[in-house]
């Protein structure tokens, strides 16, 4: 509907577009934001033309027109009535829109909680009572056509949750629980970013929202809840042991295993993630090893230590194990 305004660049180009496209809404919440943006742009362009015309009249216009332009009436209309009317209308539009952004769009909602952490996203899927039944990180899976009510929290500093194609942006403030609603009306992958400077690698703090058709979503959820298989081969079994002995398990959780660390992203489904490093790298054997071996070269200042001491075969084994966590 709207022209696409995005400048794809760099490594994640193939994933979802970086930076995420703005003014290209894929659901009702983002649609209302885009409509207001275009109205503002059109209005500003119109006013700019009027000012240019007035300037032309003032410099080159006929005497009679110049006199009218400089008259008291013109000042009252152009300087008082017009701004008051336009600004009041915009204020009402903006405030209603802000309220509607956190209002249900109708129909049964799904609930999630997203916690912004320096510099990644902790994701919980909530049941009807608000209790978390599934943990994940850096990726949100949603069905199309359903409204998702997302609680936004933060344990450290202020972050801001922004998926331009699905909603407005809302801050995640320590000690508060803010509510945002998002909805996608067509299946696809939508990139999100942190929109509030939160220190060091803030610019490398992204995530993805994956919107599935309803049937696909049901299948995806069933697969997530299915019992988990043991490491498929010897290499990944070795990786499983290394995950504990090398200390990864102290910071990362993998459901169904002794690994229950909470300082870093949940890795229970890391093998099926589309990205690594919080939305910044494609996910394949190479980037997995590159991240584990030396994430500090990729995302300087992030809170995972580099593992350059691990020999190649250990890194390969860890990557094989994590790839199997789907």
């Amino acid at each position: 509907m709207w022209p696409r305004i995005s400048t794809p660049s760099g490594i994640v180009e193939g994933l979802a577009g970086w930076p995420p496209p703005v003014l290209d809404p894929a659901g009702p919440y983002a649609g209302s934001v885009a409509a207001l943006s275009w109205a503002l742009i059109a209005l500003a362009a119109g006013i700019f033309l009027i000012v240019l015309a007035a300037l032309w009249i003032a410099l080159r216009g006929r005497e009679r027109l110049r006199a009218r332009l400089g008259g008291e009436r013109a000042i009252w209309i152009g300087g008082v009535v017009f701004p008051v009317v336009v600004l009041t209308a915009l204020l009402i539009w903006g405030l209603t829109l802000t309220r509607n952004l956190s209002e249900p769009a109708g129909g049964p909602e799904l609930r999630m909680r997203v916690s912004g952490e320096m510099w990644w996203w902790r994701v919980s899927y909530l049941d009807g009572n608000g209790r978390a039944f599934m943990q994940d990180a850096n990726e949100l899976h949603i069905p199309v056509g359903r409204t998702i009510a997302i609680e936004l929290v933060s344990p450290d500093v202020i972050h801001s949750f922004w998926v331009p194609q699905l909603s407005g942006k809302l801050d995640m403030v320590p000690g508060r629980r803010n509510l945002i609603r998002i909805q996608a009306d067509r299946p696809g992958t939508y990139a999100g970013i942190c929109a509030e400077y939160c220190g060091g690698p803030h610019a490398l703090m992204g995530f993805l929202v994956v919107a599935h058709a309803p049937d696909d979503y049901a299948r995806w959820l069933a697969a997530r809840r299915a019992p988990r298989a043991a490491p498929p081969d010897r290499q990944s079994a070795r990786g499983a042991a290394l995950f504990v002995s090398a200390g990864c398990a102290a910071c990362h959780r993998i459901a169904g295993t002794p690994a229950n660390g909470q300082a870093g992203p949940d890795l229970t489904h890391v093998g099926s993630r589309r990205t690594l490093g919080a939305g910044i790298l494609p996910n394949n054997r190479g980037t997995m090893i590159g991240w584990i071996g030396n994430s500090q070269a990729i995302k300087p200042g992030n809170r995972m230590p580099p593992y350059t001491v691990l020999p190649g075969e250990d890194l390969q084994a860890l990557a094989a194990y994590l790839e199997a966590q789907r």
Partner: protein, 97 residues
Amino acid sequence: MPEADPAAGRDVVQRVGCASCHVFPDISWPRGALGPNLGDFADQGLIGGRVPNRPDLLAAFVRDAPALIPGTTMPAMPISERESRDVAAYLYTLRDR
């Protein structure tokens, strides 16, 4: 390699994330440090200090490094044979000037 396309090779390198382990002079981010800096790779005699630096061997190496250098940290990468020739052509444009 007359039919290989260095520009297409660079796109492949960006897409699959080779830069998460290597520094490439014309890729500003990431600048990975697990593998060697490839700033003047074109003038090198050996690949990984072991394999002669020939176009066919380089194409095979970037696609499946462990097949040529068992035990290396560099894993097989998800690229097609065609793409691997483009990547090799791109790597031969990397030289210190």
